[in-house]
């Protein structure tokens, strides 16, 4: 498989007067062509900033201070604004979490789609045709009339579909989906995920899916990286992650999910709260919440270690985590894990 995007030791920091918030602190991963790569983590773990960094959309005072983001072997970080604009929307597109606020309220949907064709020499009629096609593709009924409407006339799910249509307008090779379904209710969530899967197959693109929902990961992703406090703590294929997680945090995350078999068991929460990124604990950032933490975890930060070629974990005590059991196994064909049961 060919590498499409390679993120190497990415560091995105927010430099304020009195403190530096290390939102992304040495993240590396690779996305191959035609795969769905998941980035999972709690709020504030740095997953959104990672994907914003890829498109140069980090908000001030945030800044990519180190590392490389190689898209088809070109470093996005070093690109001029003009070069970056050629990548944005044309090679890499993004859809955001909040369909309510991600579309301009005062412009017709048509204008917002047409914008994606700004750099092409398409005629108005061609743009129109293509827009209708796109809206049909994402399942918006009667696109001819709906494209003349404004976003407040669209429901949440329809807005998300419109946003996907716009993101797909110039046939990107990589679609970044930043928690695309968080703001939607469960049935719509499932529809959107299925739509993304279908579009990925049809258009042959890769997807970088940011989410905090492990069920979505199980349903969608080929490979997953789990982020904690701006770092990747575990990265492997989806099956391995759910069947034999090796980082205590991943394990705890999976154990905190409702179990498919035993309905009466209590859920196991992860105690404590994610650390303050401006004031990370010494050593492993997860140690204050970790059941297995020992002295070394407090003093030295573990490196991301290769367990196998395709499984990396950042932990000092990999021998202790051998017996971890995932609570459920992903089954792509059934289209998700808890969807049917709940």
């Amino acid at each position: 498989m060919n590498k499409l995007l390679e993120v190497k030791d990415l560091q995105t920091h927010f430099i304020m007067k009195n403190e530096v918030v290390k939102a992304v602190d040495g993240v590396s991963f690779t996305i191959y062509e035609k795969e769905t790569f998941g980035l999972v983590g709690e709020s504030g773990s740095g997953k959104s900033q990672t994907c914003r960094s890829i498109l140069g959309l980090v908000k001030k005072p945030g800044k990519v201070v180190g590392g490389e983001i190689l898209y088809k072997k070109q470093d996005v970080v070093k690109m001029s604004k003009d070069q970056l604009r050629k990548i944005r929307g044309h090679e890499i597109s993004i859809i955001f979490q909040e369909p309510m606020t991600s579309l301009n309220p005062v412009l017709k949907i048509r204008k917002q789609i047409f914008e994606a064709f700004d750099r092409t020499d398409m005629t108005k009629e061609e743009k129109r045709k293509k827009s209708i096609e796109l809206l049909k593709l994402v399942g918006i009924p009667s696109p001819e009339t709906r494209m003349e409407e404004y976003t407040h006339q669209f429901s949440g799910g329809m807005r998300q579909r419109a946003m996907i249509a716009i993101a797909l307008a110039s046939e990107p090779s990589l679609l970044i989906a930043d928690e695309p379904t968080t703001a939607l209710d469960v049935t719509i969530q499932d529809q959107i995920m299925q739509l993304l899967n279908q579009l990925k197959e049809e258009l042959g693109m890769s997807i970088l899916l940011i989410t905090h929902d492990l069920a979505v990961v199980a349903q969608m992703c080929d490979r997953v990286a789990v982020m904690y406090a701006g770092m990747i703590v575990e990265m492997t294929d989806t099956f391995t992650l759910f069947s034999t997680p090796r980082h205590p945090y991943t394990n705890a995350l999976i154990r905190s999910l409702p179990n498919q078999k035993g309905a009466n068991e209590r859920l196991e929460p992860i105690h404590g709260a994610p650390p303050n990124l401006a004031d990370l604990p010494m050593g492993c950032p997860f140690h204050p919440r970790c059941k297995f933490a020992e002295e070394i975890c407090r003093t030295s930060r573990p490196e991301l270690t290769d367990l196998t070629n395709t499984h990396q974990v950042r932990c000092h005590f990999l021998n202790k985590t051998v017996g971890f059991q995932g609570t459920f196994t992903p089954d792509k064909k059934q289209g998700g894990c808890d969807g049917e049961n709940s």
Binding site: K59, K81, G89, H90, S93, F96, S102, N104, V106, E115
Partner: protein, 312 residues
């Protein structure tokens, strides 16, 4: 068609408001203590002359008849005769309104010219040195009394540099424009300061919206991001604010018109109040009320075009 219906509906809604305003103006002038005829003629007037004046002003008739005449006068634009100027009020207003209108337009033009670039870049480079300077400048402009700014400008451009007239009104169009530049600039400073703050804050808020990032992620130019997304949305609240200021300016700034000896309606209002020229006061109050109503209507109409979420 929808829009047209809305406008018609709004115009119809104005009618009862105008009716109530006319009653208020009518009663207010009658509620002033003392006999208007005596007030007009002064302390030493004879009974005969006061009686004659009462007859002339129609004060001996019942309130209903007086009000009827008052309304008829407004409708037929016969607003009576000014006692001070001995000219029909309508004629007096016509020349004065033109000056105030021109002053308002020039001042609005200056305000837009000053506030949009400053406000936009202050918002875009939030917390930068430029932003700090603009913010302090806006605060200073809001705090400084306009007569003082007017005098400073007058000293600099009128007295020292001799570029522009220090005051008065010209005969030719060019002269008139020249004599409106300093008062227009003075007047625009407060408006600009208010607009700058509003534009700056809107730009800061809107730049943080996801739809701006999403627009940017489409690979469109920064210019398009600025015009189509940031400024287009910032315009909504800014236009409302600007129109409110325009309503205020159209009422005639007493201070600025006095400082620059411009014969606008603000100055006329003050002169008429001191001169107890009731016919003029009455007409001006009515005019101000109409201006406010019209600008409000205009604001709502423009607003509904700028923001599609506002229903007709």
């Amino acid at each position: 068609m929808n829009g047209l219906n809305y406008i018609l509906k709004r115009i119809l809604q104005i009618i009862p408001v105008v009716f109530i305003i006319s009653i208020l103006i009518f009663l207010m002038l009658r509620a002033i203590p003392g006999d208007p005829a005596r007030l007009v003629l002064g302390e030493k007037a004879t009974i005969e002359s006061i009686d004659a004046m009462r007859e002339k002003l129609g004060l001996n008739e019942s309130y209903i008849v007086q009000y009827g005449k008052f309304v008829k006068g407004i409708v037929s634009l016969d607003l009576g005769t000014s006692l001070t100027y001995q000219r029909p009020v309508i004629e007096l207003l016509r020349s004065r309104v033109k000056i105030t209108l021109m002053l308002t337009l020039i001042s609005t033009f200056f305000s837009l010219l000053i506030s949009f670039p400053l406000g936009y870049y202050a918002g875009k480079y939030k917390d930068s040195m430029f932003d700090q300077i603009v913010k302090s400048g806006a605060l200073a402009a809001v705090s400084m009394p306009s007569f003082w700014i007017g005098l400073l400008l007058m000293i600099l451009f009128g007295v020292k540099l001799r570029w522009l007239p220090v005051g008065g009104w010209g005969n030719t169009f060019i002269e008139q424009i020249r004599s409106l530049i300093l008062p227009g600039l003075t007047m625009s400073l407060l408006t600009s300061a208010l607009l700058i703050r509003n534009i700056r804050n809107s730009v800061v808020d809107i730049s943080n919206m996801d739809y701006v990032d999403f627009a940017r992620s489409k690979g469109i130019s920064e210019r398009a991001v600025k015009n189509r997304h940031i400024l287009r949305n910032a315009l909504i609240s800014t236009v409302t604010l600007l129109l409110m200021r325009m309503a205020y300016m159209l009422g005639g700034s007493v201070i600025i018109e006095t400082v620059f000896s411009l014969p606008g309606i603000g100055k006329l209002m003050v002169d008429s109040i001191f001169g107890r020229d009731y016919a003029v006061v009455q007409a001006l109050v009515m005019l101000f009320a109409m201006i406010i109503l019209m600008i409000n209507l205009l604001t709502d109409i423009i607003y509904s075009f700028l923001d599609p979420r506002v229903k007709f």
